[in-house]
Symmetry: C2
Subunit: 307 residues, 2 copies
């Protein structure tokens, strides 16, 4: 009855208007695991790293109930490395370096101990690898959530569409939803994308919040207006980890519960951006998370009665 996630475990070097880092730990699966660990245990990671990776980071995740038996450690090779620089408005960034390293030949293997997977979170990675993970599971998980990005739309659209057809929830940003559907209206885009397979679509709009579509229903979750956004890296993955972590905790796949999951995911993302990398995600308490969720309630509540 576990949560399985596949994605990168990697090094990042980040520059924002507020400062810059040396190589720090990042990667989609890392953020997903940290975030989900506040809601459910175990969180089982499938990924690949080189022997340059900091094993203390994996030990810290293990202390929070995260298994890394499914992380292949390649001797004599280097971990995936990404470096980027954010613009002043923090909404856009330039990629400075992408060294695939171990990721270039990654072949995900799901350990036997992971195969009782009830919830599957496919982090952003080559869609052919996302498909490989699904195909290794003897019983289809109750919920498969998939994140992806425009890069795969540009270079592997057919494979991407096959992966999308296999999942329950797709999470992408607004520009990606427009690109994938060819529609400018997000309402029209959502209909076309749900026709590709997913019953639910989450459109992430960064500082403008997130939309959840399902059949003809729409839910809008605001982003918390923050005094400082220090580093947006990993916010989308942290959102996804909180989203599926909350669903795994509550074991409720209704639209009403998905809405709550979106709010918890948004709350986790609002912590993520307060410090560089995963730092802020390492020391949260349930009380802090509840307090943050209450800020979302206050932010979006009004008392007009439904007629």
């Amino acid at each position: 009855m576990s949560l399985l996630t596949v994605g990168t475990v990697a090094f990042d070097a980040i520059e924002t208007p507020f400062g810059k880092t040396d190589k720090i730990v990042g990667g989609a699966a890392t953020y997903i695991a940290w975030s989900a660990s506040y809601f459910t245990k175990p969180v089982n990671i499938v990924s690949v790293i080189g022997d340059d990776f900091d094993m203390n980071e994996l030990a810290a995740l293990q202390d929070r109930g995260v298994n890394y038996d499914g992380i292949e450690i390649r001797k004599g090779e280097k971990s995936f490395f990404w470096s980027g620089k954010y613009h002043m408005d923090m909404n856009s960034r330039d990629t400075l370096v992408t060294d695939l390293n171990v990721l270039a030949s990654f072949n995900p293997i799901v350990p036997e101990s992971y195969k009782d997977c009830r919830y599957l979170m496919l982090g952003n990675i080559d869609p052919s690898l996302q498909i490989k993970v699904i195909e290794q599971l003897p019983v289809r998980p109750e919920l498969i959530v998939m994140d992806t990005m425009n890069f795969w739309m540009d270079i592997a659209l057919d494979t991407l569409k096959k992966a999308i057809s296999m999942v329950d929830v797709l999470t992408i940003n607004d520009e990606e939803a427009r690109q994938l559907s060819g529609e400018n209206s997000l309402v029209k885009a959502a209909k076309k994308i749900m026709a590709m397979g997913p019953k639910f679509l989450v459109i992430k709009k960064g500082e403008h919040g997130a939309l959840l579509f399902h059949n003809n229903d729409v839910f809008f979750a605001p982003a918390l207006p923050l005094e400082e956004v220090f580093d947006p890296t990993g916010a989308g993955d942290t959102f996804a980890g909180g989203f599926i972590g909350y669903i795994a905790k509550t074991n409720d796949l209704s639209f009403e519960n998905m809405k709550r999951a979106i709010i918890y995911g948004s709350a986790m993302a609002s912590f993520c951006v307060e410090k560089f990398g995963t730092e802020r995600l390492k020391s949260l308490t349930s009380e802090q998370i509840d307090e943050r969720v209450n800020m979302f309630v206050a932010l979006s509540s009004f008392d007009i009665e439904l007629v």
Copy 2:
């Protein structure tokens, strides 16, 4: 106990990806009056037009309880004319023509019959004229709402700041809030702008909704995700008209009621963009407005209990 508004009554020619118009009736005060007329009567307009204006349009407004005694009609002169073309994404536009015509020498005179003004909506216009209107009122209105734009920040910042210092609610968009405050974070921007005078700040974010700031409170109202945005012209003015119209109707200046006013304003704006110009605003019913408001309730409701 009336609502007074000052602003342009004008001609527009609009081009969008969906079509183009000849000269049609537009102007901030026109949209404000149509929108507010669904909530309160009378709505008193102060403006200026040439004798080229279509008097049937004024008669149609009068039928909805709008007074135009305060609209100066200049013989032998032309009405203000604006022409613009929207880009494919409908979020940005190019101005093609701005013919000030009668607006170049506009000197607003508030008729005696308007002076028992309880609610004042200053539409986007030269801030020196907004100040002139305030100064003609023998008793300060209970609530003064002011709309403006980046143009006045560029060419008349000191006068603009004087006007801002005299009002209760300022409505601007997110880029304008950043320009006016010099802050990228909207939370920081809101604090600086409220320190200039207004107790409330509404930051309009178009398709991303609107934020209401007051002291340390923040409220986020989503925009309705629409299948088609046909013509965004006047959406901000329509929002403002619905906002102050609802407040005038309910006569309640609490933060909780301002939130409701934002939702009603957003609902009115969502109608405005469905057709060219003011067309969609001319034939609404209370039932349609309530139905639209209920869509906002459904869009933003979730049931996490405040701890």
